[in-house]
Symmetry: C2
Subunit: 225 residues, 2 copies
């Protein structure tokens, strides 16, 4: 039951000094990494550069992230984590695809996509980010899988592992596809019109899933039973 937090990490206010320092350091690292990415481009700066800019030692950097990629991919993680957050807010009785649609549509928000959009534009045709980025999406897939498994535990056919795995993977793929198409069309454009198009794409991609990729489906027909 998502109403009562069953997970252990739901501590809302432990503002101990240590936690605050750690969060601040983490933020300083990602900020420094992003700034260096802006200034020098992907692959043209080292961990030492980041640590130096963040005011920490090289060793400390590795206490927080395993690589420069991982530090930058934390942006993607943050974005996808909000997606999971949105997904968990949906009522458990709602069909999975509709929940996914709603959660994804909520992401077409300037505050959520802005960091991701910049990261994408800065690392566009560079495979340097590909590793950690694919990892981030896969991590999100695992989260969606967990939510779906939880929801479908009692429904007919919901015990089928294949169903849940395939569903979670397909949802992620469709979300990814929508983001990809949006970036290729609009680039770093964050205007209201562009975000509307993103929302449209996200909804439409899940709708394609729901209709089984029917070949003659007209776009923007988000009809579902």
């Amino acid at each position: 039951m998502p109403t009562t937090p069953a997970s252990s990490d739901d501590q809302q206010a432990p503002p101990s000094r240590r936690e605050l320092n750690k969060a601040a350091t983490r933020q300083a690292i990602t900020d420094a990494a992003l700034e260096l990415l802006r200034a020098k481009g992907p692959g043209n700066f080292t961990v030492e550069d980041i640590a130096d800019a963040a005011g920490i030692s090289r060793r400390t950097f590795f206490n927080y992230f395993g690589s420069t990629d991982a530090a930058l991919a934390s942006i993607v993680h943050g974005f996808l984590d909000t997606a999971i957050q949105q997904l968990r807010l949906r009522p458990a009785s709602e069909p999975m695809l509709e929940s996914a649609q709603a959660a994804l549509a909520a992401l077409a928000d300037p505050k959520a996509v802005a960091p991701l959009a910049e990261l994408f534009t800065l690392t566009q045709q560079s495979p340097l980010m590909a590793h950690s980025e694919l990892e981030a999406w896969d991590h999100c897939r695992a989260q969606v899988f967990a939510v779906a498994r939880e929801r479908l535990a009692g429904t007919p056919g919901g015990q089928d592992e294949l169903y849940v795995h395939a569903l979670a993977g397909s949802i992620i793929s469709c979300g990814k596809a929508a983001m990809e198409v949006w970036f290729s069309r609009r680039g770093p454009d964050l205007t209201a019109g562009s975000l509307t198009e993103l929302r449209q794409l996200l909804i439409e991609s899940i709708a394609l899933l729901g209709t089984g990729f029917a070949p003659s489906a007209s776009p923007s027909a988000t009809r579902s039973s």
Copy 2:
């Protein structure tokens, strides 16, 4: 370039000595890497070990692969390349999902899955392979995308980039899901019954896609010992 105009890459017999040597070296590297993986386990051997076992220098290893992961992931690449090969053999008039089903079903073959199954079992709970493996699947996704785009170029709605991207990604996700479920159920089991179950899972996962993950779809009797 001796004879052919070489506009296309479909040269079936250029057995020049150089090409043969390169192929042999490449094979020696992957064989050595796999052997070391069997002997020492993931992460417990270096590039120098592989090069030494393959009878080449460390530097030459890096002329073929960018990392040990990449060398091992060539097995996954080989497997997925045969999948693409199967997919391209299907008639262009066939619906995409049916082609995918047929291509995937053809993969439930001992000769094709044996190397992959061993690799999976050897790197089961090790994230060391995750990077290159995810990359391999994504590369396959791009290939499926290319095939799908080519096929749907003239069909109604086929010009929609979103449709093609989402379709290709979902197909890959479903194939991946089927493989994952199969491994979790049967492990390195390559008996006829196990392969039949794999084929069943692959077909069923694509069928789920085709029906839009309809919740009332009758689950198959996959498990029958």
